[in-house]
């Protein structure tokens, strides 16, 4: 079945190192997206007309442009148009953050808009001041709605990083191809083993995270 090729030399280790490259890019993008998204979400909730107009256009761009197209634009387009030399890694972090911030901001905006006015009024009626109302009433409710969805964003980020091989980053799929090519003569069926393992690796990276998200969502349903 071609699984033997993985046990030759350090092939399995190389595959895992490829996964590490992908995970690093997604982790960095996730951190930027969470921070930037929360900030943007709060700013948008202040309902400034100009800001919200720009935000809607930004959201629509992210909504209909495939991430791969954005990757091409940043990696091939801006570098040529502006004459700057951007590494493929930097280009992918920029694109995934651009995408992630929009998604995250929309989650934050939705969560904030979903808190009924009565919650604020009741807090003030109980004698809480503004800070206390946010600290004890509003923020805990927002977190309960947002945390499961943000965790889900992490798995989507990890899945999307598989695209970086298309702009030449050597990550797990590319390493897989290299292993298959290098062992074409000795294990002609290597493609099956290697790609089955890559499939499984991605699953093992994402599945626990989406299970956690599902668990938290159920736990905090009310």
């Amino acid at each position: 079945m071609g699984f033997d090729v993985l046990l030759k030399g350090n092939n399995l280790l190389r595959l895992l190192q490829g996964l590490e490259v992908a995970l690093k890019i997604s982790l960095l993008s996730v951190v930027i997206s969470l921070a930037g998204g929360v900030l943007l979400g709060v700013v948008v909730s202040l309902k400034n007309n100009v800001v919200n107009g720009v935000y809607r256009v930004y959201l629509e761009i992210v909504r209909i442009m495939p991430q791969l197209v954005l990757l091409f634009i940043v990696y091939f387009g801006t570098t040529k148009a502006m004459g700057i030399n951007l590494s493929a890694e930097a280009a992918s972090v920029i694109v995934f953050s651009f995408w992630g911030i929009a998604e995250m901001a929309d989650l934050v905006r939705g969560a904030l808009a979903g808190i009924p006015v009565i919650q604020y009024e009741a807090s003030y009626a109980l004698g809480l001041n503004r800070i206390q109302a946010y600290r004890f009433v509003i923020v805990p409710q927002i977190l309960r709605r947002m945390v499961p969805l943000s965790i889900n964003l992490i798995t989507r980020m990890i899945k999307t990083t598989s695209l970086v091989m298309m702009i030449g980053i050597v990550e797990v799929l590319k390493v897989g191809q290299q292993i298959i090519e290098a062992n074409r003569k000795t294990s002609p069926n290597g493609a099956f083993g290697v790609f089955a393992v890559v499939f499984l690796l991605y699953f093992l990276a994402c599945w626990p995270i989406s299970m956690l998200s599902k668990y938290l969502e159920k736990k905090w349903e009310n």
């Binding site: 071609g2 040529k80 799929l173 493609a191 994402c206």
Partner: protein, 219 residues
């Protein structure tokens, strides 16, 4: 930007556009069928099949389409299953989308309170009538936003087909950049064609969501 270059590229992009649209919508059609069957199996907890379906849904929701396509296109031939690149694209998109659509349909089915089925039966409806007039309309209404979001997601995912050497929009753009180095023009056309492909779906989807919202009274 050079208008002559744009003119010269236009026919190539049109060809790629139709291929992308064709595979995209065939994949979506397949995903709707797979999703409906999977949701039905999961909702009614059909023994054994529900377990298999659950494994399928988790497997395909938690892996990227690119990896799935590589598996279908490069790995399956080694065990004797050879498909053309186009069928691989449709199958990959259908399987990925099926797992997403399954969740969308199932959340619709799950959200119907037992009182609805009980009332339908109490009114003397047959089971088939109950599904036809009560369950499906209500469940579909609730599923629409998620289904539309999935459709847009799947159409965007078509961009990775170039990896299995389908001559889609991305492939054309990358090819032209490599051949003639007119990066700006090639990317401009790429963006325009994706906007043409996705903006109508996005707008019509929002309209459909508003339209069905009237019918979901009390939710």
């Amino acid at each position: 930007m050079d208008p002559e270059v744009l003119n010269a590229y236009f026919p190539l992009y049109i060809q790629a556009f139709w291929l992308t649209v064709k595979i995209g919508w065939l994949g979506i059609a397949l995903s709707l069928v797979i999703g409906a069957i999977a949701a039905f199996t999961l909702h009614f907890r059909i023994p054994l099949f529900a377990k298999i379906t659950a494994v399928y849904v988790e497997l395909f929701r938690n892996t990227p389409l690119l990896v799935q396509l590589f598996f279908i296109y490069f790995a399956l031939p080694k065990i004797g299953v050879s498909l053309s690149a186009e069928s691989c694209g449709v199958l990959g998109l259908g399987l990925l989308g099926g797992s997403y659509m399954a969740e969308a349909f199932r959340s619709g089915l799950d959200s119907i309170p037992a009182s609805q089925t009980q009332s339908a039966l109490a009114l003397g409806m047959k089971r088939s009538q109950m599904f036809r007039y009560v369950i499906f309309p209500e469940a579909l209404t609730i599923s629409v936003p998620a289904v539309v979001a999935n459709m847009i997601f799947l159409l965007k995912e078509t961009s990775v087909f170039s990896a299995i050497s389908l001559m889609d929009l991305m492939f054309t753009a990358k090819d032209l950049i490599g051949l003639y180095y007119n990066t700006t023009e090639a990317l401009f056309m790429l963006v325009i064609f994706y906007v043409v492909m996705l903006l109508p779906v996005s707008v019509l989807g929002s309209l459909a969501e508003k339209k069905v919202r009237y019918r979901s009274f009390g939710v």
